[in-house]
């Protein structure tokens, strides 16, 4: 078990710097997710921890041990790859036992530990099969058993679910979560799927262009995203222009909203992030932003509405479906917001005015 400390990490490919001066502290036993769009540097960072990418600057520690110059084979990590990387010429049992054999353990221990993890991952009935006869989900379980059986200090997972179909993905997500808690191992998990990240993680680092945009719990990231990028990358949201004046938020339509937490915000132009579920529909002429319903999409539990509010982008909102559809396309309505939920960003979009911290 280890905590992972990364200080001023730098990654360069030739003359292009991909990661410059990244700091990170991953707590012992937590499931830590690196989340971001493709090309954001998340896999690069994971492979630097694993030792498969060179480190051009900074220090990487597992607890007090600096690992920068350790061979991958000496770092005591378990790794699960996107394509599983099961050895095709070895049986399931040989795959799982491979790491233990490299550690020169005695035969009885190897047998016992292999059996234990085969059973834990529910693949003991396939122990003597070759991997090509296994389904994707079963291969993933072999990969996980193989990574965990060596009692690694940290477990690294690189998009482990992206090759599975939707149903299996949900099932494996739960399995990974359960095993991780059961073994209590520090885990770094890389994904581009924000829903997967939300559901599985203790802590998420949202990355973009080699920098960490937001580090926090899934709840924190969704509810109080640190900047506009995070707000739009995690979940869906509408961005509306607005002005804060004397603690009051004024929308271009003239609709004003007050909230006690806003009184300390200096007067300025802001960008307002309103998630689809943070709008409420009122009758036309009432208080709120006037708009015209352009389209409504019935999805069972919820109904999505696309509303033209006279701005560049139409806004999207979600309401719980009613038994009869009163808000048909063409309806004139006015929109109010759930003031405790919406977020206000500086005009440049880089600072969330509701977070007490500079980013």
């Amino acid at each position: 078990m280890s905590q992972i400390i990364i200080k001023d990490a730098v990654k360069k490919y030739g003359n292009t710097t991909v990661i410059s001066g990244l700091n990170l502290n991953i707590r012992n036993g937590e499931l830590f997710t690196l989340l971001g769009p493709s090309g954001c540097g998340k896999t690069t960072l994971l492979r630097m921890i694993a030792g498969f990418n060179s480190i051009e600057g900074g220090d990487f520690y597992f607890n007090d041990t600096r690992i920068n110059d350790k061979d991958p084979s000496k770092r005591n990590i378990g790794m699960v790859f996107q394509n599983y990387a099961i050895f095709p010429h070895m049986t399931v049992r040989e795959n799982v036992a491979f790491g233990l054999k490299n550690r020169k353990l005695d035969k009885a221990t190897i047998q016992r530990e292999t059996d234990r993890f085969l059973a834990m991952m529910q693949i003991d009935q396939y122990a003597d099969r070759l991997p090509e006869n296994l389904s994707g989900g079963q291969q993933q379980r072999v990969a996980l058993a193989r990574a965990l059986v060596i009692r690694p200090d940290v477990l690294l997972m690189d998009e482990p679910l992206s090759n599975l179909d939707a149903k299996l993905r949900l099932e494996m997500r739960q399995a990974i979560r359960n095993i991780q808690k059961e073994v209590g191992i520090t885990t770094v998990y890389v994904t581009h799927d924000q829903e997967e990240a939300m559901s599985i993680s203790d802590t998420i680092a949202v990355m973009k262009s080699g920098t960490i945009q937001h580090l926090g719990t899934p709840r924190d990231i969704y509810q109080r995203p640190s900047n506009l990028f995070v707000a739009t990358f995690i979940g869906r949201t509408n961005i509306l222009p607005g002005v804060i004046k004397g603690g009051t938020l004024i929308f271009p339509s003239g609709y004003t909203v007050d909230f006690p937490a806003w009184t300390s915000i200096p007067d300025q132009k802001v960008q307002v992030s309103v998630r689809p579920e943070e709008f409420m529909i009122g009758p036309a002429g009432g208080p709120g932003i006037p708009g015209t319903v352009v389209d409504s999409i019935y999805l069972g539990l919820n109904t999505h509405y696309i509303v033209d509010v006279g701005l560049e982008h139409k806004v999207e909102l979600i309401q719980e479906s009613e038994i009869d559809n009163r808000v048909v396309p063409g309806s004139h309505i006015s929109l109010t917001v759930k003031r405790e939920k919406i977020n206000l960003f500086k005009e440049q979009g880089d600072v969330n005015l509701l977070r007490g911290e500079p980013v």
Partner: protein, 550 residues
């Protein structure tokens, strides 16, 4: 991998240095030596050798001759090989499996045996010539010179195009053809608009191989070229010539040969880089049944082509059982040729086994290591090894032989005349092919599998031998068998390098043909063919899809 692009002196770094040293000693040094001899006479630097070559028609015409016959052979091989492969992919052809094996066998046979058989069939006193002239009274076109060489080259080398194109077509997705059909483009139009553009890089690669094989073939023009001299012939005669041996001049011819093949190689590379696509077919093309006149014509085409390709092999085996008296065939059949063969073989059967086996082991080991270096450990040094390893691909065997003989005839590196130098020659000549196929196999193996092993505490060498090599093994074995077959039928280098003690079967056959001992030559050639066929049958068992990488 860590610090992938920088050279590090770890195990792989040391292996890089060793392979580099081997190439410097056994290839760069001999070729450099050859170039030096071409430019330096007794009185220092001189261009006399080149001036002599280009100013005398006797010499310079060989260049034009070689070009003409090689270009023509490339064109005819494409005209036969491409449609054949297309028919095989698109249609259900009866006996397809057998035809395929026969094509592979013909691709693997020594060209000069084909040349010799065609002389027996169509030569001045050939079986068909006599039959046709006796029966119909018309004279058969002359087999010697350009026509005969074109026939021999085409009937053998079309098979390379066929195998290349068949491999490429197996990667074309059927949905591309269906999409084309959907938009109203079918048949010949679809072939030219869709299929041909997709396989162009492969066609070009195959064409290059055919061109270089034809250009550097030594046995065929020696046997049937007669007045039509090509430059491997002039190179050989100038080098070993009994009358006037002129090593400097021979070297100059060799340099010209290298320049030409290099130019052709780069031209081909330039074109195919700009036209290459990466394809991965989920749904391979499905062969459709043929009907009516089309069925007859296509079957006729396929069977006639394969028949012509196989005819020399079969005829050689047939004549090996004919009774001979001295050097001429007489009526009746006997095993005398085989009995007599043993008195002339000397050590050639052993040599034909031992030399290729040793070379093969070295080739396989080096190819795996170099392929690994160039795929997984790309740095300046390993790229240098990669480039160097490809050089022999475009250098005629005769040139390799001359370079080695002239460079290793003095102490402390006096290898000339030893078995060692024959082994070295085979290694150098065969490595490019085996490296290419090993690279292709390695690129199919995701690097994460090796990383998984490393992360599980396996050392680099253990990962290589326990994980990488076993995953490559099926490809390596089938590649090795093909290498073996080409090694045992190699002639052009052996002709330069052999001595009485290191004579191989191909050299022995060639010698018997030259001496006119046709019966013995036929018996020996049959033995060679049988070894080839057995090897290929073993190959077919090992190879998953019968894919041939030359």
């Amino acid at each position: 991998m860590k610090n992938n692009n920088r050279f590090r002196l770890d195990t792989w770094g040391i292996i890089t240095l060793i392979t580099l040293a081997i190439y410097l000693l056994f290839m760069v040094y001999p070729l450099g030596n050859l170039i030096k001899m071409a430019f330096y006479g007794d009185n220092g630097f001189t261009l006399d050798n080149f001036i002599k070559f280009f100013s005398k028609r006797y010499y310079s015409s060989t260049l034009i001759n070689s070009f003409k016959v090689s270009l023509a052979a490339t064109a005819t091989s494409l005209l036969v090989g491409v449609p054949m492969a297309y028919f095989f992919a698109m249609y259900r052809i009866k006996g397809k499996g057998l035809l395929r094996i026969l094509i592979i066998i013909s691709s693997m046979s020594a060209p000069f045996v084909g040349a010799y058989a065609w002389i027996l069939l169509l030569g001045r006193n050939g079986a068909i010539t006599n039959f046709v002239e006796g029966l119909l009274g018309i004279s058969v076109p002359d087999i010697y010179g350009f026509n005969g060489m074109l026939l021999v080259f085409t009937s053998q080398l079309f098979s390379l195009i066929f195998l290349y194109v068949a491999g490429a077509l197996s990667k074309v997705d059927n949905s591309l053809l269906e999409a084309s059909e959907n938009m109203g483009c079918i048949g010949v139009r679809r072939f030219f608009k869709i299929v041909l553009p997709l396989i162009t890089p492969t066609v070009l690669a195959g064409a290059l191989l055919v061109f270089i094989r034809a250009l550097s073939d030594f046995g065929t023009p020696m046997l049937m070229g007669e007045g039509y001299r090509t430059f491997p012939v002039i190179l050989y005669t100038e080098f070993v010539g009994e009358v006037s041996q002129n090593k400097g001049f021979a070297s100059a011819i060799a340099v010209v040969a290298i320049l030409i093949t290099t130019a052709v190689f780069f031209a081909q590379n330039f074109v195919s880089k700009r036209k290459s696509f990466s394809m991965n077919s989920l749904h391979p093309i499905e062969a459709k049944p043929l009907h009516g006149i089309m069925s007859v014509l296509i079957h006729l085409f396929c069977y006639v082509v394969v028949g012509i390709a196989m005819l020399p092999q079969i005829y050689v085996i047939y004549t090996s059982f004919k009774k001979t008296s001295g050097t001429i065939y007489v009526d009746g059949y006997s095993l005398d040729s085989y009995v007599n063969m043993f008195t002339r073989l000397g050590r050639s059967i052993q040599n034909t086994i031992i030399i290729p086996v040793i070379a093969l082991m070295a080739v396989v080991l080096m190819a795996i290591l170099i392929a690994y270096l160039s795929v997984r450990r790309r740095n300046i040094l390993s790229s240098t090894v990669d480039v160097l390893s490809m050089v022999p691909y475009i250098i005629p065997g005769t040139v390799v032989g001359i370079a080695l003989v002239t460079s290793f005839s003095r102490k402390p590196l006096a290898f000339t005349g030893t078995m060692f130098i024959m082994v070295v020659a085979l290694i150098i000549r065969r490595l490019p092919y085996t490296i290419r196929s090993s690279v292709a196999i390695l690129q199919q193996i995701p690097i994460t599998i090796e990383e998984a092993a490393l992360s599980l505490g396996s050392t680099k060498m253990k990962t290589f031998f326990k994980i990488t090599v076993p995953m490559m093994s099926s490809g390596i074995v089938s590649g090795a068998i093909l290498s073996w077959v080409t090694m045992i039928s190699e002639l052009s280098t052996a002709m330069i390098l052999y001595t009485g003690r290191t004579q191989t079967l191909t050299v022995a056959i060639y010698t018997q043909i030259i001496r006119g001992n046709y019966g013995i030559a036929a018996a020996m050639a049959s033995v060679l063919t049988i070894i080839t066929i057995i090897s290929l049958l073993i190959f077919n068992r090992f190879s998953k899809n019968g894919e041939i990488t030359m």
